[in-house]
């Protein structure tokens, strides 16, 4: 009965044969666990589609109501908190997995002939994934999201000639307002996913067309004249059907990814909502989600004269390098002959990690929460010193300077300042300021200045 139906279905549509064809296409037997990251990225994407559709049934994409609808989803809707968690950690998984997949393909030289277009479609999918991650973070429409839109517009504004227009396009007007969120919603749920589906289809079709790349072998360079024949010969000699001989690894790893995401969604839960999306609330501390935190650090640490280069030119260069990678499409694939490929990946990962840790600490941000120095830290009961310590906090010195481990990290630690500066030098620095330090000449009376210097002079 079922068999008859399938025969009929195949006769009228061809889908049974096609599916079988796709599932049983031969793959090199030696393809191992390194080959699971592409399918895992796709599984993470499908997780996003499914959870995203569910969330969209309750989310209200209006600048004034989205926040309340998010609270409803998180606090009242059945399983809403879990779904938000799945969607958040699913997004994180997708970003991580596509990163590993790109690195794997690059290190193994799998982008070489005839798979250049596999790489190009994949590169576009990487960019789309980042665009989805950014727009998705904004849909969590709280105070941080509002300021993220403004920061994004300010960055776009650095583009020569079209910057102002781009910024207006991002804000959907003069300022953040009623028109801003629904546009991001439309891009995040319709436009970008539609492009992803299109490109994933193309990407998978190319994978079927060319077959997955065989693990690279030293001394077996890619030659356009012979590669296809050699690959066909390899499959004849040592090929196995994709399903189930290779697919079981994808299934096991994909299921593990989904399980970890579900576990994190339960144990850690979705990121909390910040203050309401009210641009007039100035007690803000905008930080991007973890996957862009490193870039937040880049923006803070770039010297002023290089900012346009870093904001505009660097992404363009990155995009160009990504798109031009498969120009070098022949020769050795083995990383032993292309050690720089591994070095490039390690370098990118370490640079991102270093900036990520810097972004986590954000030493450049003033410590607005710094508490007044404790009497034990001050350690001296003379009036001038005690007053100076109090002023050190009140006048905002402590926002940027730490003493005894308390205070900001923007400026030098002043725990032992008296051992390197004389009181006269301190007076000069405080009144005139210095590189990255404001001049306090107009905001301190002579008595206040004397008290602060008296306090600092005891720090040795």
């Amino acid at each position: 009965m079922i068999k008859q139906f399938l025969v009929w279905l195949d006769d009228r549509s061809g889908v049974v044969t096609w599916t079988r064809h796709a599932l049983e296409h031969p793959v090199p037997r030696k393809a191992g666990w390194w080959y699971v990251f592409g399918s895992a990225t796709f599984i993470a994407f499908m997780l996003q589609v499914v959870t995203g559709i569910a969330l969209a049934t309750a989310y209200v994409p209006s600048s004034g109501d989205a926040y309340e609808s998010l609270r409803f989803i998180t606090e009242q809707a059945l399983l809403g908190r879990f779904l938000r968690g799945l969607h958040y950690f699913g997004a994180s998984a997708m970003v991580v997995l596509i990163g590993i997949h790109v690195a794997r393909v690059y290190v193994m030289g799998a982008y070489k002939f005839p798979r250049e277009l596999n790489w190009l479609t994949g590169a576009l999918l990487l960019l789309l994934t980042l665009a989805l991650a950014f727009t998705g973070q904004l849909l969590r429409w709280d105070q941080t999201a509002v300021w993220s839109v403004i920061v994004a517009a300010a960055q776009a504004g650095r583009m020569p000639f079209v910057g102002g227009d781009l910024a207006r396009f991002i804000l959907a007007g003069d300022t953040v307002g009623g028109t801003t969120l629904s546009r991001f919603f439309a891009f995040h749920v319709f436009f970008l996913p539609a492009l992803v589906f299109l490109l994933v289809g193309l990407h998978l079709w190319l994978v079927l067309k060319h077959g997955i790349s065989e693990p690279p072998e030293l001394g077996n360079p890619v030659d356009k004249a012979t590669y296809r024949e050699r690959y066909a010969e390899l499959l004849r000699r040592d090929g196995v059907p994709f399903w189930p001989d290779a697919a079981w690894r994808d299934a096991v790893f994909g299921a593990a990814v989904v399980s970890v995401v579900a576990l994190l969604a339960v144990v850690v839960g979705p990121p909390g909502l910040g203050a309401p999306p009210d641009p007039s609330l100035l007690e803000a501390y905008p930080r991007p989600d973890w996957y862009f935190l490193w870039y937040f650090a880049v923006l803070a640490m770039t010297p002023q004269h290089l900012e346009t280069v870093v904001i505009i030119v660097a992404p363009l260069v990155f995009g160009a390098v990504l798109l031009l990678t498969p120009v070098f499409n022949t020769g050795e694939r083995s990383v032993q002959r292309r050690p720089w490929a591994a070095i490039v990946v390690l370098l990118i990962v370490s640079i991102i990690a270093a900036f990520w840790f810097a972004g986590e600490r954000a030493p450049w941000s003033p410590d607005f929460g710094a508490k007044p120095l404790a009497a034990a830290t001050v350690g001296d009961s003379s009036t001038a010193v005690v007053t100076g310590a109090k002023l050190f906090h009140e006048k905002g010195c402590e926002f940027c300077h730490a003493i005894g481990g308390q205070g900001g990290k923007r400026g030098p630690d002043l725990t032992l300042v008296a051992s390197r500066m004389s009181p006269l030098e301190m007076v000069g620095r405080i009144t005139n300021g210095g590189p990255n330090m404001p001049a306090y000449v107009s905001s301190l009376t002579q008595e206040e200045l004397d008290a602060i210097v008296a306090f600092l002079a005891t720090r040795k």
Binding site: E24, P26, D174, T175, V176, T180, G396, P438
Partner: protein
């Protein structure tokens, strides 16, 4: 498209992974895209110049009418999407409080609605400014947006500084840059006093 044309492979090589494998690799052995089988009954007049001429005309006609249809839909859609670039909302004077509620020399944050709040904008239509009463009748309103990348600066009265929470920008009381990455001074809103009310002229978020 050899992969999609699976029916042929069933007929030639039968079912099953092994047969499938053979069929696929065979395909790989010949040209990557094997030519479609020729039409069983070629149109007799296929190479007739008038037929060719007619086909050329029909192709062009099809492409032309499709382009017109696509433009009919596409142009309005794109126009709608880029409307923020073509539509400018008029700037509005917004009251932020009576003159005597501000003390001379003090800098406080004031809140007002942006130029074109929509019914569903909610709190997102609000904007803040740092307002300082300079003397009896003059007010200065600083934009809250850091000129580096737009984060909201905060005023601290004791050190008389505006500090940015994002990347460490610092501004003096007059809005000039004191430290950090900002490339220029804080922006200002035009202010005026009308019948005892301080008013601020709404302005676009300053983009450096």
């Amino acid at each position: 498209m050899p992969l999609v044309a699976g029916a042929g492979y069933v007929g030639r090589a039968g079912f099953g992974p092994r047969a499938f494998l053979i069929s696929l690799t065979e395909r790989r052995m010949d040209r990557p895209a094997s030519p479609e089988p020729a039409s069983p009954t070629p149109t007799p007049a296929a190479d007739d110049p008038r037929t060719l001429e007619r086909r050329r005309f029909l192709s062009r006609l099809s492409i032309a009418v499709s382009s017109v249809a696509a433009a009919l839909v596409g142009v309005p859609v794109i126009g709608f999407l880029i409307s923020p670039l073509t539509q400018r909302s008029p700037r509005q004077w917004r009251p932020v409080g009576s003159v005597d509620q501000f003390r001379i020399g003090e800098t406080v944050s004031v809140t007002f609605e942006d130029a074109s709040p929509l019914p569903w904008s909610g709190v997102s239509a609000r904007t803040a400014a740092w307002l300082r009463r300079e003397n009896e009748s003059t007010f200065t309103a600083f934009s809250v947006n850091c000129t580096h990348l737009g984060c909201p600066v905060r005023w601290f009265a004791e050190p008389k500084l505006f500090l940015c929470p994002c990347h460490g920008g610092v501004y003096n009381a007059d809005g000039s840059v004191a430290a950090g990455p900002p490339p220029k001074a804080l922006g200002r809103y035009p202010t005026r006093v009308r019948s005892g009310q301080v008013e601020i002229l709404t302005s676009p978020i300053p983009i450096t």
